[in-house]
């Protein structure tokens, strides 16, 4: 067996996104101890950088030492106790995972179902809040990775507050790519991932909890069912200035990488990053539509970083992805669950959200679809996107 040498891909799927050379270089730096004063100083900086990225002053802001799905679980197992009621507004794959989490906490999920590809309807959420006055938490996905739908987190959080309900918000795909303002919107618990618009290696989950959420966690009747994710214990480890109580060994090198990726975001500025994601999305959309293809999400709720494109009739969607990977080293995503086989998911996340990737992707799709005999408008997509960039400099 030999050392593994990864191919050089361009990552335009639902994540991971392309990791910049700066972040890769940070990742490969020499490992130091997790209780080293220099490492603790860096953890404090990560906390401050995450507070910037989330737009929050929440003291309880940290990176869970595991992927986004553990970040989701961290929110649920800390806030939800057996017997609680949790309203889950579902509009895609990840709402289903929220339901699983609620049930595994011994609580009752009240599902507010939406069609996949539709934004969450605040009216439906409000009806559920009215019908379930004992509900403790309203949970929803701000940026649905399976479909590319953006929901109105501010409106939903405001409704929840009016009904004395906490909120758990999935922002895995939004953080760093779409507007997000944890404090202004009054979000109580939020989790994200590092491999989307932060363009860091997967494996960490930034989370943040409001003071109200922290009070609920401190005053639980039962112990958190997960020792690893128990914030009452993790707090002692990430608490600023506090004596660092050993909880678990932090993933040192991935945290170097997260620090660098957050620094890159800060250098660019959140608003600039959001604008860049929008601009590249619009260029991609221009090319996609020029080919005669369509985005499945209506314009008002499209996520710029996650573009779900309908597979044209008669086209083998998996064959297209294989050819893109083989001939262009380009990865795009397939549909999940109800949308498997029906859509492609084109990610423009973080470092991957740039004109070169947009033009590469359009050109490659145009070429392969044409060679497959698909019923598309050939040979125009790249030029239309170029024209968009020129007139939107």
């Amino acid at each position: 067996m030999n050392s593994f040498r990864p191919p050089e891909r361009t990552l335009m799927g639902p994540g991971p996104s392309d990791v910049s050379p700066r972040v890769l270089a940070a990742l490969g730096q020499p490992t130091i101890g997790h209780l080293d004063p220099e490492f603790i100083r860096m953890m404090d900086q990560i906390k401050a950088l995450l507070q910037y990225a989330f737009q929050t002053k929440n003291e309880m802001t940290l990176a869970v030492s595991a992927p986004g799905s553990a970040g989701m679980e961290c929110c649920f197992v800390n806030l939800v106790e057996p017997g609680d009621t949790v309203i889950v507004a579902q509009n895609g794959a990840f709402g289903g995972r929220m339901k699983e989490n609620v049930e595994r906490c011994g609580a009752t999920p009240i599902m507010v179902e939406h069609a996949w590809g539709k934004a969450i309807d605040p009216n439906k959420a409000e009806d559920a809040l009215k019908a379930n006055p004992d509900a403790k938490v309203l949970a929803f996905v701000q940026a649905e990775t399976a479909t590319g739908v953006l929901s109105d987190a501010a409106a939903l959080t405001t409704l929840a507050k009016a009904h004395d309900c906490l909120t758990i918000v999935d922002s895995v795909t939004a953080l760093g790519g779409s507007p997000l303002n944890v404090d202004e919107w009054g979000i109580d618990a939020i989790y994200s991932g590092t491999q989307k618009c932060l363009s860091c290696t997967p494996g960490l989950s930034p989370v943040s909890f409001s003071d109200a959420a922290v009070e609920v966690i401190k005053n639980r009747k039962s112990k958190v069912q997960s020792w690893f994710l128990d914030l009452n214990l993790v707090m002692g480890y990430w608490g600023e200035g506090a004596k660092r109580t050993y909880h678990h060994t932090a993933p040192i090198n991935p945290l170097y990488a997260l620090h660098e990726s957050l620094l890159i975001l800060k250098e660019e500025g959140l608003e600039n990053a959001w604008a860049r994601h929008t601009r590249n999305h619009l260029a991609l959309r221009t090319g996609i539509e020029a080919m005669g293809l369509s985005l499945i999400v209506e314009e008002a709720s499209r996520l710029p970083q996650m573009n779900a494109v309908s597979v044209p009739d008669g086209v083998d969607e998996a064959a297209l992805r294989s050819e893109l990977l083989r001939d262009f080293n380009l990865e795009i995503g397939a549909g999940l669950g109800a949308l498997a086989g029906k859509i492609w998911r084109l990610g423009l996340m973080g470092h991957s959200s740039n004109p070169t990737n947009v033009l590469l992707c359009l050109g490659a799709m145009d070429t392969v679809l044409t060679s497959m005999g698909a019923n598309i408008q050939s040979g125009v997509a790249v030029e239309k996107a170029r024209a968009f960039y020129k007139s939107n400099g």
Copy 2:
């Protein structure tokens, strides 16, 4: 704020250990997708390499995408259900964490207490097995990181089998450093970490489950309380040849590093790695004893990779560690829990287990202790260790 530049440390604490340049280089390679065929090929290789490291043919052998404490939790939440009885033989800090895990599963822990620093007594374990015929699991730590004690996993597993009991074994500090033979010893569930004798970055937890354990997991009455750690779901993702079902996004780059570190272990050969750990331990011990210091663990149950040294009377143990870090860039560990302030923990794990580190550590401790006016034999430790190496080439 600037990019983080870690100092270049020598890591001789309880982990992380020094990560070799080969592994750091692997870590910093370009990120690819977690469903990329090349990545899946690498996952299959990791599985085979872990089977070698654990000495097992267990199909259910994989790396949990989170640190060792999540690996511990993975074993408990999958095998233990509410109402079960679990015998925990505790001889240090991590047995206490096992107890926490059992309780958080809604099960009853039967604690078999041992003094910290003592190996687990098979007779006491057998008494508990006899007294609790309904016990489902016997759990214990093979290599206690808090004290440096090796317990006889083969004997304990044999006893458990005789009482129709499954075993959960903590091998975080043993894997790659001390003899471990999962199949021959009949271990049912084992977890480890990457940052000890594998000398990889922290953040992953290799685990392996026997066919008997897998049957128990498949036939649970209740769902696993953790969605993230539910092996019924994770199985679909790591299963060889199987259609990879998306479960969570694997931590791509850390897995590159794990692949490389396991390959290094395979190239050296397990037996050679074990012998190297023993040789460097004996050299360190020679120097430690030449200074007039002593190891707290009796010779028969000393772990070569984790050496707990008594702090001499009147010495400020934290001051010594600070001076080693400041002047020698050398990290050693403090005592945990009951042993805080009373011991130093000198790790000789994986890439850190080499003569250069042994001589550096002895020389640095000799110098600093002498400058602190400690009552030690000064100026002989390094030469004694060198002599040991010369006569044990």
